[in-house]
């Protein structure tokens, strides 16, 4: 006797699976907004990317078949972000000629999927995994990665029209505003006291950086694992713009060089290049000369911001907003590692094994 698949059983008794509900809602949306009669098919839930629920699917009509990516607001996530900021930043970067998935729809009307969502074009044939970087293309990927980050830093966010979706800031205040934001996240979301985080916050307040050399578009989470690349090492798309904002371009550079992203290959920034080479490519792409003293502040800030993200994810998991295991793992393991990094940076007796020469 043929066993009835679970999704058919659910549909029979009226309890549709998540995929079935999404397919139906998306098909109605595509029919209304893309092509009459269009349907969504081949939905695949994409792992990773804990800030949004991500699905790959085909939008299909008689004459056209297009790969798309659906990003749905979660009930809770690692990062409390603004979907409109993410969408507009992607749109602006795409129009500027950077490799970014084409933003297609931003939908805040709940009637389609019960939650807000966005749809972008799929970039086929790629992957994101840093573990799968082709060894023979590390230099090529690294050069593109930091040149692209420099090119993001070279953009003028006001001229791109992002001033109406991103909080206003200035070269003189952006650093302390970011610190205030993340210090507040840590204060509000800490389930336990974090003496290392509090010491770092005090250090950052006592040693303010010089004003930013320019006000730039800051990606906010630019690192290995957040871009799509082809097997030949060509970077095709920069992903995960949900923390984009205006600020000091050194914020992105410091985050991209954070030791967490090269935990298993400490000599290679982001598992790709020696740190000095990465900075050289960034300087070439941005036209900015690195200020080492200012960068030191942003290095400490990057580790604190990481800690803030992980502490926040622990809080989400603890209070049951989400049972997604990545929240718990981030909360435990990444908190642990970023505390080690901060202690290494700040302790008077530390050997500073995570501080790399960048110039």
């Amino acid at each position: 006797m043929r066993r009835q698949p679970y999704n058919e059983i659910w549909e029979t008794i009226g309890l549709d699976s998540r995929e079935t509900k999404l397919r139906a809602g998306l098909s109605r949306f595509l029919d209304s907004h893309w092509r009459p009669g269009a349907e969504a098919s081949e939905l695949v839930h994409v792992p990773g990317g804990a800030s949004r629920e991500t699905w790959r699917f085909k939008a299909r009509t008689d004459g056209e078949d297009r790969g798309m990516i659906l990003r749905i607001d979660p009930e809770t996530s690692l990062i409390d972000t603004d979907r409109r900021t993410e969408y507009r930043a992607m749109e602006a970067a795409f129009k500027s000629g950077l490799p970014v998935p084409e933003a297609l729809y931003l939908v805040e009307d709940l009637r389609w999927l019960d939650r807000p969502f966005s749809i972008s074009a799929e970039v086929p044939g790629c992957q994101t995994s840093a573990e799968a970087f082709p060894p023979q293309h590390l230099g090529k990927i690294g050069q593109q990665k930091w040149t692209l980050l420099g090119q993001i830093a070279a953009l003028d966010p006001i001229a791109l029209g992002l001033g109406d979706v991103m909080p206003a800031t200035s070269v003189g205040t952006c650093a302390m505003e970011q610190l205030d934001y993340w210090a507040n996240v840590i204060d509000e979301d800490s389930l336990h006291p974090y003496p290392v985080a509090q010491a770092a916050i005090r250090w950052l307040r006592r040693h303010p950086p010089p004003p930013a050399q320019k006000l730039a578009l800051v990606h906010g989470d630019f690192r290995s694992g957040n871009f799509l690349y082809l097997p030949d090492g060509e970077i095709r798309a920069i992903l995960d713009w949900e923390m984009a904002h205006m600020g000091d371009p050194l914020e992105d550079l410091a985050w991209s060089l954070d030791p967490l992203w090269s935990w298993v290959t400490p000599g290679l920034a982001g598992r790709l290049l020696p740190h000095k080479e990465a900075v050289r490519h960034w300087e070439a792409g941005s036209g900015i000369t690195l200020d080492i003293e200012a960068f030191r502040w942003w290095q400490v800030f990057a580790a604190l911001k990481g800690l803030g993200i992980w502490i926040s994810s622990s809080e989400d998991f603890h209070f049951g907003g989400s049972q997604t295991p990545i929240l718990a793992l981030a909360g435990w393991l990444m908190t642990d590692r970023h505390q080690q990094i901060l202690v290494d940076y700040l302790s008077p007796s530390s050997p500073h094994r995570y501080l790399r020469d960048v110039k």
């Binding site: 990062i79 573990e131 336990h192 967490l260 393991l333």
Partner: protein, 158 residues
């Protein structure tokens, strides 16, 4: 004898890795099960070491807090330190030891901030105490570090 604690958790993780992940229907479920396995490994470590960590931490933080209280004698912070250190934990359960740890670490955060101000003002005792606090934080952070297999960037992504 049945397996207990860390050993039992380790066996559950093995069961997921060896039997359930190969049968998982899609990449998303495989990733989720992989994360749960990694978490179980960390829970197993905590099951075995939590009491030792919390008791050792308390023994290490007490002299620091006592010296801070002595240097700031008469202050509200010194009074609260003395009152907290005079209390015994309600029990030796991890939850009670954790509550005691939270209370002492909160005081240490306040003490550290006050010590930094005194050190910036040139007090030699404060510089020595600041160094002692950092040594404590270094040792504590190292002791709490989890031993885990390398994770993928997908597993660490935000």
């Amino acid at each position: 004898m049945i397996p207990r604690g860390a050993e039992a958790i380790g066996r559950l993780a093995q069961r997921i890795t060896n039997d359930l992940i190969p049968k998982a229907p899609d990449a998303y479920t495989i990733a989720d099960l992989g994360l749960i396995t990694a978490l179980l490994g960390m829970i197993a470590q905590d099951f075995d070491r939590a009491a030792d960590l919390l008791v050792s931490q308390h023994e290490a933080v007490c002299p620091i807090l006592r010296e801070a209280a002595a240097r700031m004698a008469g202050s509200d912070l010194a009074s609260r330190i003395e009152a907290t250190l005079a209390q015994a934990p309600t029990s030796l359960r991890i939850s009670d030891l954790s509550a005691r740890s939270d209370a002492t670490l909160r005081l240490m955060i306040e003490a550290h901030a006050a010590v930094e101000v005194a050190a910036d003002a040139g007090a030699n005792w404060a510089k020595r105490l600041d160094e002692a606090i950092w040594r404590f934080l270094e040792a504590q952070t190292a002791a709490e570090a989890y031993q885990v297999a390398p994770l993928t960037t997908d597993q660490t992504s935000g």
